[in-house]
Amino acid sequence: MKLLIANGHLIDPAAQENTGMSVLIEDGKVTGWIRPGEGVPEGCEVFDASGMLVAPGFIDMHVHLREPGQEHKETIASGCAAAVAGGWTSVCPMPNTNPVNDNAAITRYMIEQAERAGLANVFPIGAITKSSDGSELAEMGEMKAAGAVAVSDDGRPVPNAGMMRRAMQYARDFDLPVIDHCEDKSLSSGGVMHEGRVSLLLGLKGMPALAEDIDAIRDIILARDTGAHIHIAHVSTRGAVEAVRRAKSEGISVTCEVAPHHFTLTDRAVEGYDTNTKMAPPLRSAEHLEAILEGIKDGTIDAIATDHAPHHADEKALEYDRAPFGITGLETGLGLAFNELVHKGLIGLVRLVELCSTNPARIFKLIGRGTLVPGSHADITIIDPDLKWRYTNAGSLSKSRNSPFDGWDFTGAAVATIVGGRIVYRK
């Protein structure tokens, strides 16, 4: 079965290609590029991508799929449905499931559930420490063999610098990036939003930016020491962006990602006490948002990752300081990137594809992904940059509804998502 993605505009930064091109797919792989005017092979199903951007499949480096253990919030199947609707062909779930993904059996289970769902690829992130409790190393080698692409204790960042150093030394043996949610909890514990003028105004306990800065700087020093690759999750502060920029200039192996809400909203969004504005790291003040935008523009920030964190409506219908951290993001990430970055002229489409596909594939060393050169996996995101649409929580494919972007209008969307040569989503 051949499928031709015809007459689209191909952007493949890894292959330095940015031109009108049709892409031929056979048996789940890209088998050829056909320039305009060249003959079309016989017997192809044709997808007309005229006027569309054709990009290597987008890879969300940071999601929470809640399975196993919290299937009332999300399952791998529902999360993957939301992912492909948002244009993501691959998602990388964090290990804070129940039980924690700290061993090969759970890693394998997550991949098998994704195969059963048959929508997006799932590349699990294993835990750094057993149960993510910061005390003993998890079996990183076994998890990698089972399909894990990185390790992280995400929301329970390793507090002990000695343990983190050992984790980096060990992860390096297996060429696994170490991802850290940078938050020194001795500075942020009990906090529910960014510490600053707005938290004082609202009487909510703050999480200071320096809690993120200090941990990011610690990790960078440890990466320099160990030679491991540190990937800073969802950077949200000026200090963390500056630390990463400096570290990169010094040749330290560091990368980082940003979540769409952090380049869109500031802490002022918390003013109505909507618990769908509560996440970690929190929405920061305008000066931090400015630094994030600079980092996206100058290349300090490598990737856009949604930190999709579904919570059941009942869990969010609580007092602001008791509600859980996290918002959904898979279906709004691309729309926000278009609204806030592309259409405002901050970045072009090539850079967008780098942030959402090329760089995530490079950081997680996903061979044959993040590019569409012949021989690659046929994971393709087809985008209409001018499509106007509205996101509603009621229409979400996630099992949860905890997005602050309910009712937002967007320009730019994935109109088709192809995974392994199959069209798994069409708008």
């Binding site: 004082l200 006490y273 219908a317 609580l318 602001y320 300081d321």
Partner: protein, 329 residues
């Protein structure tokens, strides 16, 4: 859900204009006479239902709201939820919707979490009155403080007010800062560095807003002082905040003894204020800690006046929240 016509929430002072504040104070002044009558009751709210929903322990504020409702002939129901609604498996919103289904006209809510009145106001048909939410606001306390100040100083415009103590966790401080600055007073705050964040100087809008940076310009009406003495010097009003003893366990300051020595209001410190300065405290007092007994019991202390005016202020708030029109002053 549509709110009935004329329903007005009182969620905080922050949302009010100076005119609205003065309207409430003038209405309260009119009502204050009722509490001096032999028969302390008028029919203004006959047939209306007020629910006092207290998720946090309170004697004074709850009693004050209850008396205010009863003196206006409203039916008042008190609900004290000692533990949070979550312990029963019911969400906050469920609790509110259930009470709202019984068609009260007004729900007075106190909660240890900031923002709960705002969350309830989004789903309830009843008017929501904030009786204190976490560290956010305590609007009726600020109104009764303003009424006390107005009775003794005639006007608030131009006064210098010192607020001393745990500013960080104080809803009383926040509501008072908003109210008094809106009415033209100057505020100076002081206390331990751990409880008086420097960012507090940016709390109120400076009137000058710059588009892209939030590195706000502080408003000259609000000043964070390096010492208690600096804040008190020359003040017309000295407002002392209650020290919550559990803060000590959180290591904000080493001992109550040291607090009283360095930050407590003593006669010596009060002598630095204007000769006719008055002292306010929202209660309940920790005598000998944040306020020395000789100050608390002196003629300069108006602590019982505050309690007295509290009933009048709450009568005015309940009356206005359930559809009454403010008195023109």
């Amino acid at each position: 859900m549509e709110k009935p016509f004329r329903r007005r929430d009182l969620l905080g002072i922050r949302d009010l204009t100076a005119d609205q504040i003065v309207g409430i104070l003038d209405t309260a002044e009119n009502f204050s006479e009722i509490s001096t009558r032999e028969v302390k009751k008028v029919p203004a709210l006959r047939g209306k239902t007020v629910i006092n929903l207290f998720f946090e322990a309170s004697t004074r504020t709850r009693t004050s709201f209850e008396l205010a409702a009863k003196r206006l002939s409203a039916d008042a129901v008190n609900i004290s939820v000692s533990s949070s609604s979550v312990s029963k498996g019911e969400t906050l919103i469920d609790t509110a919707m259930n009470l709202d289904a019984m068609a009260p006209d007004c729900i007075v809510v106190r909660h240890a979490s900031a923002g709960v009145p705002h969350q309830l106001a989004k789903v309830s048909r009843a008017a929501i009155v904030n009786a204190g939410d976490g560290a956010n606001e305590h609007p009726t306390q600020a109104l009764l403080d303003a009424m006390t100040i107005r009775e003794h100083k005639k006007q608030i415009d131009g006064l210098e007010v010192a607020i001393i103590g745990d500013i960080l966790h104080s809803r009383v401080a926040r509501s008072n800062i908003h109210l008094l600055t809106k009415l033209g007073a100057k505020i100076r705050v002081a206390g331990p560095g751990t409880l008086v964040p420097n960012d507090f100087q940016y709390l109120i809008e400076s009137g000058v807003t710059s588009e892209n940076t939030q590195s706000a310009i502080s408003n000259p009406q609000l000043e964070v002082c390096p010492s208690v003495e600096d804040a008190i010097a020359g003040a017309d009003v000295v407002m002392i905040l209650r020290i919550q003893r559990e803060r000590q366990d959180s290591a904000y300051f080493p001992t109550l003894r040291e607090y009283s020595v360095h930050y407590g209001l003593t006669n010596d410190r009060l002598d630095m204020a204007k000769k006719d300065a008055i002292v306010l405290h929202p209660g309940p007092m920790n005598r000998g800690i944040e306020i020395a007994s000789e100050v608390a019991d002196s003629s300069r202390s108006l602590i019982l006046d505050q309690v007295k005016y509290g009933v009048a202020v709450r009568m005015a708030v309940l009356y206005l929240a359930t559809g009454g029109s403010p008195t023109n002053g």
